[in-house]
Amino acid sequence: MTSQTLTMFKFILVKLAQLVPTFIGVTIVAFAFIRLLPGDPILLMAGERGISAERYAQLQAQFGFDRPLPVQYWEFLKGLLHGDLGNSLVTHSPVVHEFFSRFPATLELSLFALTFAVIIGLPAGVLAAIRRGKTLDHTVVGISLTGYSMPIFWWGLLLIMFFSGTLGWTPVSGRISFMYFIEPVTGFMTIDTLLAGDWGAFLSALHHLILPAIVLGTIPLAVIARQTRSSMLEVLGEDYVRTARAKGLSSYRVIMVHTLRNALISVVTVIGLQVGLLLAGAILTETIFSWPGIGKWMIDAISRRDYPSVQGGLVLIAFIVMIVNLLVDVAYGVINPRIRH
């Protein structure tokens, strides 16, 4: 092993070790969640119809509420590590299964949203930096500040009113037209329709994705444009850029090779950090567009008082955010060697 891969390996190990306390903290929060609910959790779960004494004792034993707290936590942790987060009170199927059957829908939406944000935000930020102080710059800064301040649940309703209502261009809700039934393989509607070789279904899936992806991508778009602009401006002021200019390199080459590559380091980090934001935004976006992902599932679980699902969702989403942040850290270490030491 070369010393460089060794440093990288050590870097990743240290980052992983730092995650352990947070991981334990997250499990404690999720464990405490059901026990902090006001009133008896089992009576709460049983709802207004009430429950027989027999069933009560049975449920109490099933959830382990009759045992001491540390034992309960240990059992919860053991179940978690075996991928067991209990069963949904509504559907009675395992929470983990419920979560991961909906997760691809959220992932597909988030990836499209992020792609939209990067494709528009990155060039917009670069152009604004090159044209600093000009009308284009002011426009980009103004639009990104507006996007950053956007209540996306309202933005979604406006887009639906205009594009679906007035113009009739896009569907209002769901992932695909009712005309099509696609057997889930990957869970990604766009990929599954292509695998099925059904072009009409593929276009329908894309059609359904456009508005939700724009809504969910709006805030990340604003953040990426802002960050790209400011780090481009920073790098443009560096000595090596001035040297490159003085050497007589074309301004295209100076921007693409010398500036953008260095400016991208901080932009990549910012893009990675959008994941938590995307998952929070997914809650609102999925509610507006009836998108069958984990955001809508969580809201439904909260309003149906399906506490095991809420608990499981909290843990799994926090894990996903933590893992993605770790990957971003590692990626940052790879592209910016100064960080590793």
Binding site: P151, W154, M161, L277
Partner: protein, 299 residues
């Protein structure tokens, strides 16, 4: 404005204030933001005198009346009415009271809590710091809106729970900033001098260190204020925040949603006022950062 045109000697509070105001007012956006927010605050304070109608009054003869610029609109209801005949403008004006006061409380709670924990962590270091930063890492591991929703589910939906939940979600940012600033300041000479002069822990933390750590915290407070307005509205929209018939902006949007095909005004205006308020606070925050951040300062 006499105080500003004749600044005191460098180093005095008056001089600092004057130089701050010069930097802040150099940004037109920041000034526009400040004026807008001041107006919204004023209107919210004077709601009973400014609002043309009682926000809860249902006029059965005027359901879903469009705004005044439509042929069917009337000056009686300038921005139109909602599905049960309530005046939208009056509800927006009263709604400002809820959005602004809840958000102000959120910032107050999370700022005080965050400063306290951050001071402890940065001043004492060691295990105190480890525990505090680890707990904050856990809070940050959850997407903010999701954690707020979970907390509201525990506390049962309503104004107070929404306020507490969002304040808790904002807490880590204040803790991190305070801790970093305290660590940066702690080894400076004036702190050592103060300690040698016999200042105790409390005096060192709150009298010596804190005033010198305030600049980034003030900027963060404006950011938190705009985030809080958005989050309160989002919770209201999801039915987990302020409950109807309270005229909260997010809850108004949720109510209007089913009529968006026929009454665009009931959806458009509550969202527009949320966007404008948040945008103006962010503009103001940008100006504050430029004026308070010494690194950005033109000298």
């Amino acid at each position: 404005m006499a105080a500003i045109s004749t600044p005191g000697a460098p180093g005095t509070f008056r001089y600092q204030l004057g130089s701050f105001w010069k930097d802040f007012s150099a940004s037109r956006g920041a000034l526009v933001g400040l004026i807008f927010i001041a107006l919204v605050f004023l209107v919210a304070l004077l709601a009973p005198w400014v609002a043309p109608h009682d926000p809860a009054l249902q006029d059965r003869s005027a359901l879903l009346v469009p705004p005044v610029w439509h042929a069917e609109g009337s000056w009686r209801y300038i921005l139109g009415t909602d599905a049960v005949g309530r005046d939208i403008l009056s509800r927006l004006i009263y709604g400002a009271r809820y959005s602004l006061s809840i958000s102000a409380m959120v910032v107050l709670i999370s700022m005080c809590g965050g400063i306290f924990l951050g001071l402890l962590a940065g001043y004492f270091r060691g295990w105190v710091e480890t525990v505090i930063t680890r707990v904050m890492d856990v809070v940050l591991a959850f997407p903010s809106l999701l954690l707020a929703l979970g907390l509201v589910a525990i506390l049962s939906p309503g104004l107070t729970s929404a306020m507490i939940a969002i304040a808790l979600v904002q807490l880590p940012y204040f803790v991190r900033l305070t801790r970093a600033a305290v660590i940066g300041e702690k080894s400076r000479e004036y702190v050592t001098a103060s300690r040698l002069a016999g200042a105790g822990h409390m005096r060192l933390m709150f009298n010596t260190l804190l005033p010198n750590c305030m600049a980034p915290l003030i900027v963060q407070a404006t950011l938190s204020f705009s985030t809080a307005i958005l989050d309160i509205a989002a919770l209201g929209f999801l039915g987990m925040g302020v409950q109807p018939p309270t005229p909260e902006w997010g809850a108004m949007l949720a109510n209007a949603r089913e009529f968006m095909g026929s009454a665009y005004w009931a959806v458009t205006f509550p969202g527009l006022i949320i966007l404008l308020t948040v945008l103006m606070i962010n503009l103001m925050g940008d100006g504050l950062r430029d004026a308070l951040d010494p690194k950005m300062k033109r000298s």
